[in-house]
């Protein structure tokens, strides 16, 4: 009994040890790695590329497994390492092959894409060139259109300026014409002789000048025309009046000069008379004749020459030569003597160069005595010749 108990106890201790000694050891890590590698990759592909390597790896792995099963762990580990190396090499070679194929495919695709890109770039360049040409054309057309419009506007402006200048010039010319007409009116003193017309002309001219300044050319022209008409009318009205006045002024001066020159003649008496409209400058030359004789007494040539020069100096005056006698004798005889005396003086003056067409000779006898016929000196003075300058 006791022996049986001891045997049971020994069995209980030794059995687990024996069982433990007979159990498979843990799988080596290298072999486990190999199995994982194998599961994770496509061995068929690797086998195509490197069949020897794959076969060798498989063989080593199998041996490793056997060694593991037989607990020859060190050998198992070594063979598993070699199997890993060979399988990894086979996988790397397979990977190389795959990448080579991929590179080849990519190269083909790249070549195709480059060709497509080249074609597209060429097309794009062509289209862009066309677009650029179109843009240039449109730009040029736009520029030309703008130039045309600018030039048209410039021409229009210049045309307007030209028209404005033409109107301005026409206005200035009309104003100048009106000014000239007014100056012409001034020459005949129209402000005095045609006051209304002259004032109207002056006012219209001032208005025209103002309108010109305000660039109202139409108004300026119209005003200038009216001013000119008024100025012309003023001139027309004033001219005869002015000439008359001027003539009168000139005549008066000349008459005064004539009177002064006549008074300077020695041996003659000068007087002024008015008969109606006529003014008379009478140069009386007494004692020019012998008693009852018509001939000019000697020694009086000087006074007659002076009178002849006076008549020639003032050539516009008609001149009467009137002979006079005293009152002694028959009237008819006295008239004849006086007429003869006037005729003789007429001849004498003609001989001295006086134009005879200006001379009128007549005798009045004893009419119109200037001195007292009752005295001898008075009668002597009444036997006279009178040279009469006639004027208005």
């Amino acid at each position: 009994m006791k022996t049986r108990m001891i045997a049971t106890r020994i069995a209980a201790v030794l059995l687990p040890s024996l069982l433990a000694a007979c159990a498979t050891p843990p799988k080596p890590k290298e072999l486990a790695d190999y199995d994982l590698l194998r599961q994770a990759n496509n061995l068929q592909e690797a086998n195509k590329k490197a069949p020897d390597l794959v076969a060798s790896a498989e063989k080593l792995a199998e041996r490793s497994r056997e060694e593991w099963q037989s607990s020859d762990l060190e050998e198992s580990r070594r063979d598993a390492i070699m199997a890993n190396i060979k399988l990894k090499t086979a996988l790397a070679l397979m990977e190389q092959e795959q990448y080579k194929a991929k590179i080849q495919t990519l190269s083909a695709e790249q070549a195709k894409a480059e060709e497509e890109a080249g074609d597209l770039s060429e097309k794009l360049a062509n289209e862009q060139e066309k677009v650029q040409l179109l843009e240039k054309y449109l730009e040029a057309r736009k520029t030309a259109e703008a130039d045309k419009q600018r030039l048209s506007a410039q021409m229009s402006t210049e045309q307007k300026e030209h028209e404005r200048l033409a109107l301005q010039l026409a206005s200035e010319q009309k104003i100048a014409a009106a000014q000239l007409a007014l100056r012409t009116a001034d020459t005949v003193d129209a402000s005095k002789f045609a006051k209304a017309e002259y004032s109207a002309a002056s006012d219209m001219l001032a208005k025209a000048s103002a309108e010109l300044k305000q660039n109202d050319y139409a108004g300026a022209q119209a005003s200038a025309e009216v001013a000119k008409k008024n100025a012309d009318k003023a001139t027309e009205i004033a001219k005869p009046l002015y000439e008359q006045a001027e003539q009168a002024s000139q005549n008066k001066a000349r008459d005064e000069a004539l009177a002064r020159d006549a008074s300077a003649i020695n041996g003659a008496d000068v007087r002024l008379e008015r008969r109606g409209d006529l003014q008379r400058l009478v140069i009386a030359v007494p004692e020019l004749f012998s008693k009852r004789k018509p001939d000019i007494a000697p020694g009086h040539d000087g006074v007659l020459s002076a009178i002849a020069e006076l008549i020639k100096k003032y050539p516009t005056y008609p001149v009467q030569i009137i002979g006079f006698t005293d009152n002694r004798g028959k009237s008819s005889e006295l008239l004849a003597i006086s007429a003869a005396r006037a005729q003789n003086v007429y001849s004498s003056l003609a001989a001295k160069g006086v134009e005879t067409r200006r001379l009128m000779a007549s005798g009045l006898g004893g009419d119109d005595p200037r001195f007292d016929n009752k005295t001898a000196p008075g009668r002597a003075k009444n036997n006279r010749i009178e040279i009469v300058f006639l004027y208005h």
């Binding site: 990448y99 862009q128 843009e135």
Partner: protein, 163 residues
């Protein structure tokens, strides 16, 4: 005497053979260590950092085993390192090919983007041309200058990113 000589000759033979084998293994380890540096330089994409570290570790293991005169194990480890070096070379080549493929993919994507832009520019240009032909540029047709795709290259020129 003769027996002594014979013993000497027989004893010296295996020692000389062992020394020669040790030298060969040392040269092999040194050579492989040198080639690890070359592989490291070749790995521009740093795709094999773990493998190279593992290789260095195994070469160190081989060196230690050589020091312990475990020549069979040294040979076994060196065989493994040679295969590891082959794996590293294969992975480096694969990584370079992967980089090249990635570059080409990017270049192709750029090219396709460029094509899309050029097509869009072509459509815009055609619209603008039509508008100009009708007498004036439309306000919605974009800027007055003809549409030009970004980064467009002259006709027929290759893409800028092509390797």
């Amino acid at each position: 005497m003769a027996a002594a000589i014979a013993c000497g000759v027989l004893g010296a033979g295996p020692r000389a053979v062992r020394a020669g084998e040790e030298d060969d293994l040392q040269r092999e380890i040194d050579t492989q260590r040198g080639s690890v540096l070359d592989l490291d330089r070749l790995d521009e994409n740093k795709a094999t950092g773990d493998e190279i570290a593992q290789l260095r570790g195994w070469l160190d293991e081989a060196w230690n085993l050589r020091s312990k005169h475990e020549y069979d194990q040294v040979r076994e480890v060196l065989e493994r390192t040679r295969k590891q070096a082959d794996l590293i070379r294969a992975k480096i080549t694969a990584s370079k090919l992967r980089a090249q493929a990635t570059k080409r993919e990017a270049a192709l994507a750029d090219l396709r983007t460029k094509i899309a832009r050029t097509k869009k520019a072509l459509t815009d240009t055609a619209k603008r041309k039509k508008a100009l032909e009708q007498g004036g540029a439309p306000s919605s047709a974009g800027p007055s200058a003809p549409a030009k795709p970004q980064g467009a290259t002259p006709a027929g020129a290759p893409g800028g990113n092509a390797p």
